[in-house]
């Protein structure tokens, strides 16, 4: 629990530039994202003279070229000797004919001339990478959405369309405390941490937003724990290794005073009894409570007073459970009803990505990927057919032999641009469009594979407890019976009455005024 200054998570405040020893995400291609902890240059690393290096299909990228540059920067590949590390160099230096100049992070002025400069040995020359002529990646700040996209599939991941909606409905705002059971892959944890973040906790007792996370699986717990500390989220997320069905949601025996709960568990109904305002009655008969059956009334009472609710006693608690099967939903909803939750709502979310493409159809178009070389409309089809027909007639003319063939060949050219022959063998003159990005009609279509079902989301709200004493206090503070006005929808009768009264009053005034005036005049 450190104060804000030294280490704020890059998820919460990435700052303007990439930093050493911090998380960054490399965008290799559109959907290929790779998280990387940037390591400062410190001697050889894994055989690389450049220090730590990221090797990708698009080239090699030493970390030193990625530190201290603005987020979102395009990074050129560097010349890195990937093959000979750890063994004798087989190649002669001359092989590397076109090594680039050393690339200084942040300023890439001379890169246009990379080809010209030639260096004998890349590795020994500089510990910094040398610019490659081709290949680049982009470096992105860790944002929960990008992080989620880059996640390896450890467990089922709660993706952005789901968690964004869940957090919205759970009212996860700066300062809220949110319980999460089943930390899983951590995608929800990161998004929730961002949502509730309003500063790192300091010693001043002011309550800050917090994620109280529970994970049952031990390996995943350790992995998550490490991840959280790497990401600087330790002050924001409190992770516990626990079976919440059995042991509930208290933190060190104290209530976390949660405002919202997200349960990504196989049997959320078993965890729900730990999430009520008072000790639920049926608990005494449940399996986990060993001495439950033998309790005398007094014992139960005592138990009740010791029982601590994990919920914020002053606010309504919002819950969401995340279950893939309808049977789980039925059980959960039934349990929620019995425990007094209201506004129970079950939804599922269908998210679709939409791709935009240029739909290029036409005989004019050059043969290229994605081009459909068939007529784009009836006119074009007609022109083509007519032309074929003409040619056919030429051919089938009885007397025609060699000469006619030549004629026929010439014909399309003389026909002008209107009649086109199949794209491949025509000359440049009939391919007017060099701007593939402007051709064709802009169309949209769904992605090739869509996620049709992620999970069912059950939402519910548990109002705060309201006792007789509370009610009496409120009633004393706001006694009723002195109502002066009606707000909201008023029925016709009373509206008319109100109007009549108003008019009467006004009328009376007017009459009175007139009287006054008359008297004055008199």
């Amino acid at each position: 629990m450190t104060s804000t200054s030294p280490k704020v998570s890059p998820f919460l405040e990435p700052g303007p530039y990439t930093r050493a020893n911090s998380l960054a995400i490399l965008q290799l291609s559109r959907d290929n994202l790779q998280p990387v902890y940037l390591q400062p240059l410190s001697g050889d690393h894994d055989g690389y003279a450049e220090g730590a290096v990221v090797n990708t299909r698009y080239g090699s990228f030493p970390h030193s070229t990625m530190i201290g540059i603005p987020w979102g920067s395009q990074i050129r590949a560097s010349k890195v000797d990937t093959g000979s590390r750890g063994r004798k160099r087989k190649r002669i230096a001359g092989d590397e004919a076109t090594a680039g100049q050393p690339e200084t992070p942040g300023s890439n002025e001379n890169d246009a001339e990379t080809e010209s400069a030639s260096r004998p040995d890349a590795a020994s020359d500089s510990k910094k990478g040398l610019g490659e002529a081709t290949g680049f990646i982009h470096i992105l700040p860790p944002i929960p959405e990008i992080w989620t996209m880059s996640l390896p599939h450890r467990t089922q991941v709660v993706y952005t369309p789901d968690y964004s909606y869940v957090l919205h409905r759970l009212r996860a705002r700066p300062g809220a405390v949110i319980i999460e059971a089943g930390a899983g892959s951590g995608s929800f944890t990161h998004a929730a941490a961002r949502a509730i973040y309003n500063g790192y906790p300091t010693r001043a007792a002011k309550r800050k937003g917090k994620v109280i996370s529970f994970e049952y699986h031990e390996q995943r717990y350790h992995k998550m724990k490490k991840e959280l500390s790497d990401h600087g989220l330790e002050g924001i997320v409190h992770l516990t290794h626990r079976d919440v069905y059995k042991d509930g949601f208290l933190v060190d025996g104290k209530s976390p005073e949660a405002d919202a709960i997200f349960l990504d568990l196989p049997a959320p109904w078993d965890a729900l009894r730990h999430l009520s305002r008072r000790k639920p009655p049926q608990q005494s008969s449940s399996l986990s409570d060993d001495d439950g059956a033998n309790n005398t009334d007094q014992q139960i009472k005592e138990d009740d007073s010791q029982w601590v609710s994990a919920l914020n006693p002053k606010k309504s608690a919002y819950i969401c459970t995340f279950s893939p099967c309808i049977e789980q939903v039925t059980k959960t909803v039934s349990a929620l009803r019995r425990l007094g939750w209201v506004d129970i709502d079950m939804v599922e979310i269908a998210n679709r990505k939409i791709h935009t493409v240029r739909d290029r159809v036409g005989l004019h178009l050059p043969i290229d990927r994605g081009v459909n070389c068939s007529p784009k409309d009836v006119e074009e089809a007609m022109a083509k057919l007519t032309e074929i027909e003409d040619r056919f007639r030429e051919h089938s003319r009885p007397k025609g032999t060699g000469d006619d063939m030549d004629l026929a060949d010439d014909e399309p050219a003389t026909n002008g641009a209107g009649a086109m022959v199949d794209g491949g063998d025509v000359d440049g003159e009939v391919v007017p469009s060099t701007q593939a990005w402007m051709d064709g009609r802009l169309v949209t279509r769904g992605e090739p594979e869509i996620k049709t079902h992620t999970s069912y989301l059950v939402f519910a709200i548990l109002p705060r407890e309201w006792t007789e004493e509370d009610e009496a206090a409120a009633a004393a503070k706001y006694p009723c019976g002195a109502e002066v006005k009606v707000v909201g929808s008023i029925d016709k009768v009373s509206r008319k009455k109100e109007r009549r009264e108003m008019l009467e009053q006004q009328g009376g005034n007017r009459k009175a005024r007139r009287k006054e005036r008359d008297e004055k005049l008199a």
Partner: protein, 657 residues
């Protein structure tokens, strides 16, 4: 945030019919729910949200209905009964109603002994309209009597299937039961109400799931503790040179917003940044103390607001000039100040009231922004001297003119008035007030414009009726590297046109130097690319762009009757365009992809070989069509300088080649 219902808070009342009424709970008024009855507002003040209340019968000595809290066991009584019945297949109704196997039965008024209804009458519903009206007027037992008697008087009840019976009962319950629930006005509840019951057009049909997506993709969150610029303590003689200049280092956690949803989007973002609600309801401790002090004031019929009004009107009276005068200006008469605890010295005219962090900057097309919905959260944008509210110091607005051509904007370009202390004291208070007001406005606008033009925004959110391409042209250069962009539109077409500006082929052409205008320009110039027909935007300024849509499908969950709802709101689906601001490297950068052809055995032998750069035009496929095109591209590709790690992957792909 919302622990109990505060006096004068806006709340949503949910009625049995499913309708929502949004009202302000003013103490000592009667809240009418139309046909469901009316009750005194004081009965729900300081009570928790989300409880279900039921209107009780009027007591003989009182002229109003009291309300009681309906416990959940009662709310769900029928469902519990269903669950207990074997097989869970019997729907509600049967368990609670007598079995009516053609028996003759009648409903008898307990007091008079009159027969109210008889099953032997011809019509299916034997109660006449008058009788129903009478029952309603007697209105006992929160409408439950009416429902029971309607059920009893239905002659064909035995012919109904159990399902239709359950439906019939539900229908009648919705109509007659006198219950309601109080919900807080937060962004989800408010937008649901606007969308379903009010004018969805006003909020551009933005549904909750889309709002959630926009907020997340734009990475909108608490942007750090408040930082204020030091007060320059400028005297009235100092002009524009005394204005504190923008310090780019301090600017953090700022979001650029275009909002044509009457302020709903701003409210949603402010909620995510923790600046939507006044702090007293936000944190518990001050809440308690505040409540104690507020109590008498609130009980005495809004004493406080009225006092404020008086203060204001008094101020305007003093400055009875043409323009409105800020209360703070009437420094000579401290009694006009509504706040008693005004101990600290007044900030000078050029003190910037805005925080440097955690702010929302709204750019608007009209001369004034439309943020009217913020009124529901106690923030009135038009109010010249706003009572304390977090949005006062975290919301900045400027017009496109002020952003792009500030020199044409009068309020920005006119230098501030100056006057010596003597002249100032010789003026009438009204004139003096105007003088200070204008100077303050100048400093404010100057700060907003300069800090916005300084750029480096943490993200951009847009829900605008304007063309997104034109917005992006001017907004993209203002974003920091890696800053996310999220643009909502109710229609797909504007977004697909925008996405097309960043298409692979456009980007390839741009970077390969085919475009004549581009070749000799520096990155700095290209960031402010003015756009032409072929390249409306600089296609290298945005990464990972994608368009998506989300749709929530609601389900009914009842024992034995679980299924998706039969109908839902249609209309526009809503789409979100997302991406991240990129900082392209200087000079020509070719992508890897197409390589100089090498012999096949070379590829397998590269194991110990370092890379050899290839020349010619390279291409990198990282765009929308990636899914299908990448495989095709990969086949053509010759991996010349694959690294040892990559080689296996590459081989797998390249196998056919």
């Amino acid at each position: 945030m919302h622990s109990v219902i505060r006096p004068n808070a806006w709340v949503a009342l949910k009625l049995p019919s499913g309708a929502t009424r949004v009202i302000q709970v003013t103490p000592n008024t009667t809240i009418s729910l139309g046909k469901y009855g009316a009750f005194p507002a004081n009965l729900i003040l300081e009570r928790p949200y989300h409880l279900t209340f039921e209107l009780e019968d009027k007591r003989p000595d009182e002229n109003f209905s009291r309300i009681r809290v309906v416990p959940p066991s009662e709310l769900y009584a029928e469902i519990f009964a269903d669950e207990q019945s074997p097989g869970c297949s019997t729907p509600a109704g049967e368990a609670t109603l007598p079995i009516l196997n053609g028996e003759e039965y009648s409903v008898v008024d307990t007091e008079s002994g009159d027969i109210v209804a008889q099953s032997t009458l011809d019509a299916r519903q034997t109660l006449t309209q008058e009788q129903i009206e009478e029952l309603k007027r007697d209105g006992t037992n929160a409408g439950k009597n009416v429902i029971a008697q309607l059920m009893l008087s239905h002659t064909a009840l035995d012919q109904k299937t159990s399902f239709s019976l359950a439906k019939y009962k539900l229908l009648k319950t919705k109509k007659y039961i006198r219950r309601f629930q109080v919900l807080p006005i937060d962004v989800p509840n408010f937008s649901h109400w606007q969308l379903e019951e009010r004018d969805a057009n006003k909020i551009m049909d933005i549904r909750a799931e889309m709002m959630a997506l926009v907020g997340c993709w734009a990475n909108v969150h608490y942007g750090g503790g408040d930082v204020f610029l030091d007060d320059p303590h400028a005297t009235s003689e100092q002009g524009q040179e005394a204005c504190p200049s923008v310090q780019p280092d301090l600017l953090k956690g700022r979001w650029l917003v275009m909002d044509d949803t009457c302020g709903l989007l701003v409210a949603a973002l402010a909620e995510r940044m923790g600046v939507l609600s006044p702090p007293d309801s936000d944190d518990e401790d001050s809440e308690e103390t505040n409540r104690v002090t507020d109590k008498p004031a609130a009980a005495e019929k809004q004493e406080k607001p009225r006092g404020e009004d008086e203060g204001l009107s008094e101020a305007t009276k003093q400055g009875s000039d043409t323009e409105m005068v800020d209360v703070q200006e009437t420094s000579t008469k401290p009694k006009a100040d509504p706040k008693p605890k005004k101990q600290k010295p007044r900030p000078s005219d050029f003190a910037i009231p805005y925080s440097q962090t955690n702010t929302i900057t709204v750019v608007h097309g009209a001369s004034q922004p439309n943020l009217s919905f913020l009124n529901y959260w106690g923030f009135d944008y038009t109010s010249p001297n706003h009572p304390p509210h977090p949005l006062v110091s975290h919301l900045m607005t400027l017009s496109w003119l002020q952003l792009l051509k500030p020199e044409l904007d009068t309020s920005y370009s006119t230098p501030p008035l100056t006057a010596s202390a003597e002249t100032l004291s010789s003026w009438k208070p009204s004139r003096r007030g105007n003088f200070h007001r204008k100077r303050r406005r100048y400093a404010r606008i100057r700060h907003i414009v300069d800090s916005t033009r300084a750029g480096n925004f943490s993200g951009m959110v847009c829900a605008s009726t304007m063309d997104p391409i034109s917005i992006m042209r001017h907004a993209l250069p203002l974003l920091a590297g890696g800053a996310p962009v999220a643009i909502y539109s109710p229609n797909l077409e504007p977004l697909s046109a925008l996405a097309d500006c960043f298409s692979v082929s456009r980007r390839t052409a741009w970077t390969s130097g085919v475009v004549a205008d581009v070749a000799d320009k520096s990155n700095e110039e290209l960031e402010h690319w003015p756009g032409n027909d072929e390249f409306p935007l600089n296609p290298t300024l945005l990464l990972g762009m994608s368009i998506q849509t989300s749709r929530v499908r609601r389900w009914q969950v009842l024992p034995g009757r679980t299924h998706p709802l039969m109908t839902e709101r249609g209309g526009s689906d809503g789409f979100v365009f997302t991406g991240w601001r990129a900082k392209p490297a200087e000079g020509k950068v070719a992508a890897k992809g197409k390589f100089k052809r090498k012999k096949a055995d070379d590829v397998s032998a590269v194991d110990s070989e370092a890379a050899e750069p290839a020349d010619g035009l390279k291409r990198k496929i990282d765009d929308v069509t990636a899914a299908d095109s990448e495989a095709a591209e990969a086949k053509r590709r010759k991996i010349a300088d694959a690294t040892a790690v990559d080689l296996e992957v590459a081989r797998a792909i390249d196998a056919p080649a």
